[in-house]
């Protein structure tokens, strides 16, 4: 190859790099590792019970849930759809709704929609070195968007400021290699109902708190030590989720409810599949065991050049 061709601006590699750089500039910045839960080496999967600490372009379609039997003996089956969409790389919104089939002993089966819920989210920060991230949000559950009388959907709107965080333990010393795949995500939020009561019952303000404790086999295999895990086991993330809600006023402050949900998530390149058992924390939260399964799609990976991008980068 001649000296001229070595410096030729239309040399194959240089030309390709130029074309790619141009495409990247035209399309906006590359989809940096903030998409669907990356913080440095750490990949946070989309948890099922608790909110995620990151904005994303994702869709849960569907989530099938069989909750524990209610205190009055009611059996329920839920089908939910949730969508998360970025507006900018750091600002996003969520929207979701469910369909419920409910059977109370001695009564006919009732079906219908549960309430519509939406959220606006802002990514406060992502720290790749410390595998940390945090998000602030404002969730709204909308009145009269489900079957109020038959299924108990809300006849009032609830506004809920939220704070979500995530932390991976990959920065632990090398002397603790098998602890480094651990990670935790958590939520704190507070409900502000727009009506003090409905149908003769109080609507209290609630303090909501929850966390997900995860052990990422993906992190172990690809960032800590090759322990010969092969697909699909090298993309499994066992976890346990806990979510609790405590009313703080209107005479209900001892009525904490919630569930503990051990399970497992398999996270692939385009979607993840999760399954969890549902264990009520007390009699108020139900009795017996429930369970759920979810298919969760990564829109940014499936449609990287269209609806998977932030709206303002289309």
């Amino acid at each position: 190859m001649s000296a001229k061709s070595d410096s030729d601006p239309f040399d194959g590699a240089v030309f390709r790099a130029g074309l790619l750089a141009g495409a990247v500039l035209l399309a906006g910045r590359p989809d940096l590792a903030g998409a669907h839960g990356f913080a440095g080496d750490r990949f946070f999967p989309a948890t099922i019970l608790t909110d995620d600490p990151f904005v994303a372009d994702e869709m849960s379609l569907p989530t099938f849930t069989r909750p524990p039997t209610a205190a009055d003996g009611t059996h329920e089956f839920d089908l939910d759809v949730d969508i998360a969409k970025r507006i900018t790389p750091d600002l996003g919104f969520t929207i979701g709704q469910g369909w419920v089939s409910s059977k109370t002993p001695g009564m006919p089966t009732v079906t219908g929609l549960s309430g519509l819920h939406t959220g606006l989210q802002y990514q406060l920060f992502i720290d790749p070195q410390r595998e940390m991230m945090a998000l602030a949000g404002l969730n709204v559950s909308w009145a009269h968007t489900g079957r109020v009388a038959a299924l108990g959907a809300s006849d009032f709107t609830t506004i809920t400021p939220t704070f979500d965080f995530g932390k991976g333990f990959g920065d632990l010393p090398d002397t603790l290699p098998y602890f480094r795949p651990f990670a935790i995500t958590g939520n704190l939020s507070y409900d502000f109902p727009t009506k003090p009561g409905s149908a003769g019952l109080p609507n209290p303000n609630n303090f909501n708190y929850g966390f997900a404790f995860e052990y990422s086999l993906e992190y172990l295999q690809h960032h800590v030590k090759d322990v010969s895990l092969r697909p699909p086991f090298d993309h499994l993330i066992p976890l346990i989720e806990v979510a609790l809600s405590t009313p703080v006023n209107r005479g209900l402050s001892r009525n904490t409810t919630g569930t503990v949900q051990p399970g497992i998530i398999w996270a692939g390149p385009y979607y993840q599949i999760g399954a969890e058992a549902i264990i009520p924390v007390n009699a108020l939260s139900g009795k017996g065991l429930g369970g759920l399964i979810q298919l969760h799609l990564y829109l940014d990976d499936i449609f990287p050049k269209s609806i998977g991008r932030p709206l303002l980068q289309w």
Binding site: R16, A21, P177, H222, V224, P304
Partner: protein, 129 residues
């Protein structure tokens, strides 16, 4: 009327689900590039200096925006700074190493997959006599 409203909303969700399934069926094969495996193995101890570090990814890479480097315990880069994508398999990246003294080394990878998704990561290996 009381039944029509939830039916319409449920219908809208089902239509969205149908649309998503149709579009998904025609979606291209793109995704973030994850590390699949590496030589030396992630977190391994090797006897004698390896001649190179080679990393297999789950997606094909863009060479102009992908890099692989190796540093020692002091953070000094020790590879020959000739990282390249394997022309026979664009999902593989490698970099040559000089003769390394015993010690711990860290590999940093930063790659751009062919659909412009960027990912990065690290892993370590140790050289013993």
């Amino acid at each position: 009327m009381a039944v029509a409203k939830p039916t319409i909303v449920l219908g809208a969700w089902l239509a969205l689900a149908f649309l998503a399934s149709v579009v998904l069926g025609s979606a291209g094969a793109f995704a973030h590039a994850f590390l699949d495996h590496a030589v030396p193995l992630v977190g391994s101890t090797v006897h004698g200096s390896p001649g190179e570090v080679k990393v297999w990814f789950t997606q094909e890479l863009e060479p102009a925006f992908s890099s692989l480097r190796v540093v020692d315990q002091n953070g000094a880069q020790v590879d020959r700074q000739n990282n390249a994508i394997d022309p026979g398999d664009r999902a593989v990246m490698k970099v040559s190493l000089p003769s390394l003294p015993p010690g711990k080394y860290k590999v940093f990878w930063h790659v751009l997959s062919v659909d412009t998704h960027t990912t990065e990561g690290t892993f370590s290996f140790e050289v013993v006599p």
